[in-house]
């Protein structure tokens, strides 16, 4: 087995038993990136030189006995997350030359313990998309089938992990951006509870939805990374003070007596692929065999989650993106007066989808429309939260498909924004409610495309949903 194909767990053992060095492990990943990135376009920036230096430092730490869980492990980061000294574009030209002076808190935590930053992953610009076709640096291709999308918005991170260009990745999930590409590329991806991981240093998209989470090859690796990055951060007032449990213990709990809810709305959606349904239903039967109790239920508000999302998120976007105006950092268009500096910088710096969302949000928040759109969507959001509270009094977790279909073709949905929005139908409800949800590989279609299964749980039940995910065997 090649070094870049290792899981975190395996790499930890190899490094500690001196079977190989972090420099060797890092080189293996960099070689794979060189071999494959031209085709997949999973990285916007590759940090070859600094990665090797960081690997050397990590090797010294290992010799000196300064060994932390991620010491010497090479990882990749979504480009919408700030990395000190490393260009972070958010996949938009407005930040083409932007070099953040600081690390996002989650990245700082990993780098401080000797994690090796390989580079920055392509994504839909600022996380706006479900296919990675809204990047101003070109689409990411699915490593399993190059004619298919990798999913989005964290498509580059998903492709990089699936194709063994890195050992794990850190990405961001606003309405499904970790889970949907994880399911399309056949890896594990988790959106933690809102407030579990710090958002400091994440390029904000929709602040009341944004979360940061890992993308990994196994559930065990997910537990390892979550343990290192979770927790309260003084720099993000929305992080929760609750103690971070020992995920590796929680993840190993068995399923005896666990009540698994199966909401029918997640199996009847328009465009639902029967192969996806069959694979997920088979896995639910397996969970029953392993001691879980299966409870079929209904969550009638499910279909409104996307509508809520596409009012509230563009509204928050239109406000958050005011900062990208060509004044203090990023690209400034050549224009004489101030209005033109703003409007021309934003015209050339954003791709079409970012503009569309800013416009929708500006409209929804404008005088005369606020009550009809923004407030109405916030009220339905309350009802969606209550719908989850209601079912979680009867069941411990919910199991659903991550996406109604496997990876679709490049260009297949890009002409119709609404069709792309609807691709997130099963991942956006958890985002509205701020609850944790994990996507884990559950099988594949006859044509070999990965199918993901999603497990959702109540707030701060990351350990529990990982224990269920750990019981999903392809």
């Amino acid at each position: 087995m090649k070094l870049n194909e290792l899981t975190i767990k395996e790499a930890q053992e190899g490094l500690r038993n001196k079977k190989f060095t972090s420099v060797e492990l890092t080189k293996a990943c960099l070689d794979r990136i060189k071999e494959r990135n031209v085709e997949l376009n999973a990285f916007i920036t590759v940090c070859e030189e600094t990665a090797l230096k960081e690997a050397q430092n990590a090797d010294e730490m290992l010799v000196e006995g300064k060994i932390f869980p991620l010491t010497g492990i090479p990882f990749a980061v979504k480009d919408a997350i700030c990395t000190a000294g490393v260009r972070s574009t958010g996949a938009a030209k407005v930040l083409d030359n932007y070099i953040p002076p600081y690390d996002a808190t989650v990245i700082k935590k990993i780098r401080e313990q000797g994690g090796v930053l390989l580079g920055k992953n392509n994504c839909d610009a600022f996380g706006h998309g479900a296919s990675n076709e809204n990047s101003m640096y070109g689409p990411v291709k699915n490593p399993i089938n190059l004619d298919k999308v990798a999913g989005g918005s964290s498509g580059g991170s998903a492709a990089a992990v699936a194709d063994n260009m890195c050992i794990f990745a850190i990405a961001e999930d606003t309405g499904g951006s970790i889970r949907q590409p994880a399911s399309f590329c056949g890896i594990v991806g988790m959106r933690p509870s809102y407030g579990r991981n710090s958002r400091f240093g994440i390029m904000p998209m929709a602040s009341s939805f944004d979360t940061v989470g890992p993308m990994t090859k196994t559930v065990e690796d997910m537990a390892i990374v979550m343990q290192e990055i979770a927790g309260k951060d003084a720099l993000d007032a929305t992080t929760v003070p609750d103690l971070v449990p020992t995920y590796n213990d929680e993840m190993k709990k068995d399923l005896t007596g666990l009540r698994v809810g199966v909401p029918q709305e997640y199996f009847e959606a328009e465009g639902m692929d029967s192969e996806v349904r069959d694979v997920v239903e088979k896995q639910i039967k397996n969970l029953e065999k392993r001691g879980a109790e299966i409870i079929y239920l209904s969550m009638p508000l499910t279909k409104y989650a996307i509508a809520v999302y596409y009012v509230l998120v563009p509204s928050e976007v239109s406000s958050n993106f005011g900062r990208l105006d060509g004044i203090r950092y990023g690209m400034r268009a050549d224009a004489k007066d101030l209005f033109d500096v703003y409007s021309k910088s934003r015209a050339s710096g954003f791709p079409e989808e970012v503009k569309r969302r800013i416009l929708i949000g500006t409209y929804a928040l404008s005088s005369g429309y606020y009550e009809a759109y923004y407030k109405k969507a916030q009220q339905v959001r309350t009802l969606i939260c209550r719908d989850f509270d209601r079912v979680f009094s009867d069941v411990d977790v919910l199991v659903t498909p991550t996406s109604p279909f496997a990876a679709f073709g490049l260009g297949e949905k890009s002409a119709d924004p609404l069709q792309l929005y609807l691709a997130d139908i099963f991942v956006s409800p958890a985002a509205s409610a701020g609850i944790p949800a994990i996507s884990v590989p559950a099988g594949e279609t006859k044509s070999g495309l990965p199918i993901g299964l999603q497990i959702m749980g109540p707030k701060l039940s990351e350990g529990l949903i990982m224990s269920v995910a750990n019981n999903i065997k392809k």
Partner: protein, 101 residues
């Protein structure tokens, strides 16, 4: 519902995004489709329902008001599009468009 080109022009101005005529046409059409779709929210009865603005359940999170030297002045200046004598240079905010420091 249908968003007119004039309305698109108006919100684009509010949002400070210059659009080409083609873009105005495309956005009018795609945003109309999206608005039709989000109008399905009107099927849901929300009488008396409190709006949700955030989901943490946290309230009044405060911290000590301390001055911290982040020591990144040089790095921040390096990111500025135009700098003059260690300060950010921007076009005139008031009056004519002559640059001021």
């Amino acid at each position: 519902m249908s968003l007119s080109i004039e309305e698109v022009k108006k919100i684009a101005k509010l949002a400070r995004i210059e659009l080409t005529a083609d873009e105005e046409k495309r956005h009018a059409s795609t945003i109309s489709t999206v608005l039709d779709f989000v109008n399905t929210l009107n099927e849901v009865n929300t009488d008396g329902v409190e709006p949700t603005a955030q989901v943490t359940g946290l309230e009044d999170v405060v911290r000590e008001d301390l001055v911290v030297n982040s020591k990144i002045k040089k790095e921040l200046l390096n990111q500025m599009p135009q700098v003059s004598v260690g300060l950010l240079k921007v076009p005139a905010v008031f009056g004519d468009s002559e640059d001021i420091i």
